[in-house]
Amino acid sequence: MISGIILVLLVTLPLYARGYTPILLTSIYMYIILSVSWAMFSGPTGYMSLATAAFFGVGIYTAAFLGNLVPLPIFMIAGGFFSAIVALLVGALTLRLRGIYFAIFTFGLVMLIPNLLIFWELHFTGTRGRFVVIYDYNTIYYAMLAIFVVMMVTVYFLRRSKWGLALQSIGENEEAAAHVGINTTMVKVLNYGLSAFFIGAAGAAIATRWTYVDPYIAFDAEISFLPVLMAIFGGMGQLYGPVIGAIIFTYLQEVLITRFSELYMLIFGIILVVAILYMPNGLIGVIQKLWARGFRRQHADA
């Protein structure tokens, strides 16, 4: 019910809010997509993926290559599709790696793909960057909103499904999961592909706001780390944790960049350190704790 009302507000927003708000919200949707997609795989399984920037970049380059040939929804889906393919390949190769090795390998992709692209562009097309087709802000707003909604619905049902349970059991004890009949490799790889799909689609959509991209712009390492921080800050135990983390972080980022551009990273860093030290279960964890305490007090009074 509440989500329905929020959705109606968000869909009609460009009709009454002009200028900056839809632009900011587009960024917020984008970061929600990135952090929830990251958390849908890395949260339950415990495999720390740092390939978000790689999947995002594949989406951006899909837009750069196909933007002038096909309409926005098509190249958005294509961006997601290509990212998912990269994730499936990488997943099949690397998901047997555990812990830190998986994290490092996935981050290696963020280094590898842009350099391959640079090599390709310089040797075969003779350019370094590319112009991307431009869409107006409202179109991008709706595109990002659509990905966001589809993703939230998918993740909502995934968490409640048999698949969600399988993923969770992999994070709890992968060996035991395999021995009670779960095809752990398949579950991990397909879920990794699904999470990359949304990340790639978001990359393709946002690229149309940037006019020009080169491999180093498209594959920005920060995109691998920010969603992780947002998800941890918000709390990964609940579906809404990464959402809240992404909203707060993106807003904070905008405010800090505009008001204290010099101190932005410093303040950001301090908030993070405090959050990780004092909120092991993220903001959601703190809220739940306060809620439980208030609830207990009410009962004690009665």
């Binding site: 399988a166 969770q168 004890n173 035991a176 395999a178 021995h179 095809n183």
Partner: protein, 237 residues
């Protein structure tokens, strides 16, 4: 039902299991004993595909299972528990079992049916009271029961128990022995590794002895107790 021929596994230069032939017949309780490092758990790992080997053939109900993955072996009807318990620690006991019921069989199981089976199995292992507790909060004995219930939820024909009784006190051992007998009464064949002699002598129909990866004896509990080599291995010459 389960047979192995010339099964070997080396870790580097060490032959953990070398050229072992074994068989477990339907309805039996077969014990696997041997000193620490004899290769018992390695043999279990080879059967359940936690480890792979190219030497030797393992067959289940006449079909070769070497080279399959653990989830396939589970679906064929071979379930196991672990020496070092591997429960899903943050999940309630009942969910641990439910996962076995949902994923462990080749056919789709409706979730209501899986939930009902999980309840029944927790009751069977005597854990109904603790079903909502996270598995990590349970005592070792109870975590082992969760593992047994979870393994049973996959509807196995053969259940492999890896040191079910290690670390349990006398009362718990008696209960565990009684549970093993009840599992057999369900028509499930049991292959068990055990160090607790009283337990293994009490419940097994047949016992196999491994030493340094080699099978040195096989027979009824009585024969094993009187076997000179076995006594030497355990007590020294």
């Amino acid at each position: 039902m389960l047979e192995g021929e010339g099964v070997s596994k080396n870790f580097g230069g060490l032959a953990a299991v070398s050229n072992v032939d074994f068989h477990v017949d339907e309805g039996e309780i077969v014990g696997l004993i041997g000193p620490n490092g004899a290769g018992k758990t390695t043999l279990f790992n080879l059967i359940s595909a936690a480890l792979t080997t190219k030497q030797g053939v393992i067959k289940f109900k006449g079909e070769e299972i070497t080279g399959l993955s653990p989830n396939q072996i589970c679906k064929m009807g071979v379930a196991r528990t672990f020496q070092a318990v591997k429960v899903f620690p943050n999940m309630p006991a009942i969910t641990n079992v439910y996962i076995g019921a949902m994923f462990g069989t080749p056919s789709r199981v409706p979730s209501a049916e899986a939930a009902r089976e999980s309840e029944e199995l927790l009751e069977f292992v005597g854990l109904s009271a603790a079903k909502a507790a996270p598995a990590s909060d349970l005592t070792l004995a109870n975590q082992k029961r969760v593992e047994v219930a979870r393994a049973l939820a996959t509807k196995p024909e053969l259940l492999m128990l890896d040191e079910l009784m290690a670390g349990l006190n006398t009362t718990e051992i008696t209960e565990a022995m009684e549970m093993v007998a009840r599992i057999r009464d369900k028509g499930i064949t049991i292959f068990m590794i055990e160090h607790v002699m009283k337990a293994i002598m009490g419940v097994c129909d047949r016992i196999m002895v491994l030493h340094h990866g080699v099978k040195i004896a096989e027979g009824t509990p009585q024969e094993i107790a009187n076997n000179k080599t076995v006594v030497e291995v355990y007590l020294g010459e």
